[in-house]
Amino acid sequence: MKRELLSGNEAIARGAYEAGITFASAYPGTPSTEILENVVRYKDDIHCQWGTNEKTAFEEAMGATFTGARVLVAMKHVGLNVAADPLFSSSYLGADGGFIIVSADDPGMHSSQNEQDNRNYAIAAKIPVLEPSDSQEAKDFVIEGIKISEKFNTPVMLRSSTRVSHSRSAVETGERETPPELHYEKDFQKTMLLPVIARKKHIIVEERQKKIKEFSDTFKHNYIIEGKTRIGILASGIAFQNGREIFKDDWFLKVAMPYPFPEELYKKFADKVDKIYVLEENDPIMENFARLITPDKEIIGKDFFPLTGEMTEDVILSKLGKKDLTPEFDTNSIPHRPPSLCPGCPHTATFHNLNIQKVTVTGDIGCYTLGGLPPLNAMDTTIDMGASITAMLGMEKAMAKAGKKLKQAAVIGDSTFFHSGITGLLDLIYNDSKGTVIILDNSITAMTGHQDNPGTGKTLMGDDAPVVDILKLVRDGLGIEHSFEIDGYDVKGIRTLLREELKREKLSVIVVKRVCALLFKKPNWSPTVVDPDKCIKCNLCLKLGCPAITSKDGKAFIVSSLCTGCSVCIQVCPHDAMNHANEDGMHIKDTSLADFFKGGK
């Protein structure tokens, strides 16, 4: 037994190892990404991989369960929306080997477009859900989850949250269990969800849930902490830990399995107290069960605590009237530090051009979503993964019906394009869209911290993989005639190409290709310098939003330690005031212009 500090995600990975899991898949998404990045440490024992999206990752895991293997699939909360279809099927199909579905929710929306509570999915799909409150539980619940999964022939959801996944606490690690023997046998009744079979399975699923409900009452991780008062706290997840800081003398019912809810255990707890506070993040899941079981009990839940955001110690205390959160110093009075595209980001030149050409841009999810913020202001919409392309089609057709037309482009990254952009592009071809699709190909899944994808040539386990060439895919594969590839640093080239394609009454695709600036090694590059005699304070370079460009005495100034020498500002400056610091400085002319206009006609 070894005790070490692990993040919740590291602990989940460790749990996968110790539980004898042999297959793990995921699509990266904050706050879930590090789970598979750590499972890969055990790649000798566990096949681990990135799926192209959450649905493929989920289905691949299900295929593995058919063989009797123990499996884990991980995603962020909104990722489970993408994988919802196989999720519901998996409930009926059961799990021959244990099956853990990790959903990392994001209360407070640190890095997400919403804060949905995925325990609702567990209830809707009729599978049990476990909610760890620290790293030890994160590890233990993978192991327990596998046991529950195999015992009841059901997938088990592990609902983590940002604060569990991204906090560190001590974990006692153990040995790996020997994985079960695999034993695939063809069994039509077991693995085919035809209506005639599914009808029988639904009955089994309902029976199963009753049994798991009984189990929930005896599950050792659902437990009562005795108190000295007549006040009880019904709590789960990180809200339990936050509540423990406050309610020192009161009773607790710590719930590890909010669904199926431990009804009998709850009754015992409720008998001991007169008033119950429910501490759970986001939706009133446990609260609603509690209200049904003890309708006459005084229950303080989401009518009192906020439905939105995190259930922190401060939030609880301030709602209880025990702490005044009015800040002594008003931090809104000082400048914010918003995230921005990095120095040398290969997306900047594209957004700069979209901004000055006043294009309506349907956007997508990735680093490049930051292109919507000032000073680039070059994105109008964000819905979900892949929606840049499809939303553009909807706007275009609706406007066309009214006899109107917008100057429109869709902007999507390489990983997001693979994830769910390709199907949208098929819609554009099929429905005769005249739009322009810009695929920002930086050859990595950058936002979540540089994960490989079908365009990078490497797998999660470090093996070589074929590189999917996006230009070839759209031009030769899908037959889009007006397909182009251009260098992300070629400001004027992008400008010209955009101008022409936005005018064209035909669908076109522009692949803007240049590897992420954080990955690119730049041996010969020298930073850019500003000639103050030539700078006329037009501030055009500052509108790039490059963190390396600032101003000194009103004139542009480049922080050389940050500057990558990408040359975008050199090209943007209308007064020739910017240049590389020395002759060795690589200029845009020295790079291959990625076969400028190669694919176009």
Binding site: R163, R168, Q241, N242, E245, R337, P339, L370
Partner: protein, 190 residues
């Protein structure tokens, strides 16, 4: 139970420093929990890590007026988190300016009264030009370890534990440089 907050800008080594500190506290026999902010903050935004330690720790999250120590890697980030500091808490601030984008692009001014405000809200303030000292030592990237050294000098934990963890956590070829940065911080007197 005590709380330490480390705040700075993405890329300054805040998370590395917080890992180092967590290991020290664990080696010193405490229970430790740490929380941090990921995601968008990697793109030049502000970063904060919270470390809580003691006999028993439940929540890993920061709370207003609850921090015993705040270690700020940049002046503005120190001020941004000042409300977390206890009335008798200690504030260690790197005397270093990293202009956020709205300042760099001329939309707003970088405040010129940061020091006044830091002094107003913290009775125990250390301002140290850590970035300058680390640069003189030979590598600006040791700024974080230098600042951890200042914190170490204010805490009641055996110096050997700190040194062992620094040796363990930093890349082998930069151990000496980091140890001298730690010493500079440890022996710093304003």
């Amino acid at each position: 139970m005590k709380t330490i907050i480390i705040a700075g800008v993405g890329g300054q080594g805040v998370l590395t420093a917080s890992d180092l500190l967590s290991d020290v506290l664990l080696d010193a026999g405490y229970n430790v929990k740490k929380s941090e902010v990921h995601g968008m903050s990697q793109r030049g935004g502000d970063v904060i890590a919270t470390i809580k330690f003691g006999e028993e720790v439940f929540s890993p999250l920061p709370a207003i007026k609850n921090a015993d120590y705040i270690l700020a890697f940049e002046k503005l980030e120190g001020l941004r988190n000042i409300n977390f500091l206890k009335n008798d808490g200690a504030m260690i601030v790197n005397d270093f300016v990293w202009e956020p984008l709205p300042v760099a692009s001329g939309t707003v001014e970088y405040p010129d009264d940061i020091e006044d405000n830091l002094k107003k809200y913290s009775s125990d303030l250390i301002l140290i030009p850590a970035t300058d000292i680390a640069t003189e030592l030979g590598n600006v990237r040791t700024t974080n370890v230098l600042l951890v050294g200042v914190l170490a000098s204010k805490m009641d934990i055996d110096k050997e534990i700190w040194i062992n963890v620094v040796k363990r956590k930093v890349p082998p070829k930069s151990i000496d440089l980091n140890l001298s940065a730690f010493e500079k911080g440890y022996s710093f007197r304003a």
